[in-house]
């Protein structure tokens, strides 16, 4: 059983629509992480292409696994680390269908993916214009622990993280591209998801300025009791490595037993009520 895990939060800015440069940059960060003993390196949402690429997304999307995933898997293998990064995924069944996807690769190669379930399409966000929503939550059993993936706006919907926990997640990785005006929401919600599910949560946000939106960084690791055990700088590139102790989940869960106290019958009520808003 895995007990401790060293995580690298790679809070980078990305080059618009330039997959080669972004892979090169991620490679440098992975090498740095490996030198510092990290076992898992996390990059922001859509880190392969940058977040706001608009219509260029149709040229940039790739199947998974595909050429970029292959390169990232090689980097993972060379450095013997696990990597989570984001990319636009082209459906293998219909090329015009694209997902906003988080990918997990490791020393053993491509491991799995998660397609963002909640696509913000309001205010400055236009994700539903480009992406199809995902339909499955994803938890991966790996040598470094059971890892569940979510992406950015998913964190506003507690049921996604709850499903990951119920499927065994010990660590939820949330990759993000959140602009500064939303910072308070994310700082509260990432802690809430960790506390209510008795899990560790690693949040990695983009930095840089795109179309007047300033991505605020502030990546962090939150313990199951809600404390921030590692935090990257606001607004600028940063790289933080921290170790978590997965054993802590048990005693926190005994103290705040949210999973023991779950009320399944409420989910039926939620389903009915949400269908008739």
């Amino acid at each position: 059983m895995v007990e401790t895990l060293k995580i690298a939060l790679a809070q980078i800015s990305c080059k618009r629509a330039d997959k080669t440069s972004n892979i090169e940059k991620m490679k440098l960060y992975v090498e740095k992480a490996e030198k510092e003993g990290a076992e898992l390196v996390i990059f922001p949402e859509l880190s392969l292409t940058d977040y706001l690429v608009r219509d260029l997304i149709y040229e940039l999307a790739e199947p998974i696994p595909g050429p970029s995933v292959k390169k990232m898997a090689e980097i993972a293998k060379e450095n013997q680390v696990y990597i989570v990064f984001g990319m636009p995924e082209m459906s293998q069944k219909a090329e015009s269908v694209i997902y906003n996807t988080a990918v997990l690769v490791g020393p053993e190669g491509y491991i799995g993916k998660y397609r963002k379930m909640y696509l913000p399409t309001h205010s400055v966000f236009e994700e539903k214009r480009y992406f199809r929503q995902g339909y499955e939550t994803s938890v991966f059993e790996t040598k470094i622990g059971r890892i569940g993936l979510i992406i950015c706006y998913d964190v506003f919907f507690p049921e996604v993280s709850r499903a990951l926990k119920l499927n065994g997640a010990e660590l939820i990785v949330c990759i993000s591209a959140s602009p500064a005006v939303r910072r308070t929401f994310f700082e509260i919600l990432t802690a809430a998801r960790a506390i209510e599910n008795n899990v560790f949560l690693a949040y990695v946000n983009l930095v840089g300025i795109e179309e007047g939106l300033q991505f605020w960084g502030g990546s962090r690791i939150i313990s199951p009791s809600g404390s921030i055990i590692a935090k990257a700088k606001y607004d600028e590139e940063d790289f933080v490595v921290e170790e978590i102790d997965l054993k802590n989940i048990r005693h926190v869960a005994a103290f705040v037993p949210t999973i023991r106290d779950l009320r399944p019958e409420l989910y039926e009520q939620l389903k009915t009520a949400s269908e008739t808003i």
Binding site: V53, R54, D55, G208, I209, E211, Q214
Partner: protein, 278 residues
Amino acid sequence: MKLTSQVLELNWDDVAERIKNFIRDYVEKVGAEGIVLGISGGVDSSTAAALSALAIGGEKVLGLIMPEEETYNPKDIEDAKRVAEKFGIKTETIDLSNILKAFYEAIPNFNAQDRVSKGNIKARTRMICIYYYANTQKRIVVGSSDKSETMMGYFTKWGDVAADISPLMDLYKTQVRKLALHIGIPKEVALKPSTPALWPNQTAEKELGIKYETLDLILYGLERFMKPQEIASQLNLPVETVEKVKARWITNEHKRRMPLTVKIQYRTVGADFRLPRI
């Protein structure tokens, strides 16, 4: 929501920082060698110029002072120079009088009594001069438009609003004044009545028919989907005043967008041709 001046308060350190980062980032991304902007001695252009200087260094910012004989005001010129000096900005003065006279004489149906159309020639002539410097000196043009004037359509289409970036466009006028004071713009400049200087003794508040303190709260309420009746009752105004502001905001959308075209082909510029900016 309670509409008081308190709702317009922001963390000015944070706002200044974000605007400076935004300006610096854009200049770097497009590979420009500097910034050029018109400086009138008013609060908006003084603030835009100062933030530009704080972002990339005053020596890389050029402020153009563009007086003309009809609206000539030595106090404004003095204020523009004072702000420029304080923030280390280079200035150049272009007297527009002869250029404008040439326009007036060359246009066959020119009507000097139509002061709006005549004034718009002035605003657009300033724009031409600013872009001349931008082109020849590889500078970007920083606009000074604020949110109050942009929402009201209180600007000259392709004139004073023309710019590569407009860092103040998401701040209401009263907020720009606060930001100005915060970054060290002299008080008499920050609080000076605004004028587009299109004709003598023109002031924005007189022309808009409302004080910015009131207008900004109306616009703030509209921005947050409040109903005119509710805004009027909170601000103790006739509902017609709010309705008028709302109508002006909506009908001026054409001034804030790319020109409208007819949809003929697969993807259309300004409609569904959606590319990222650099």
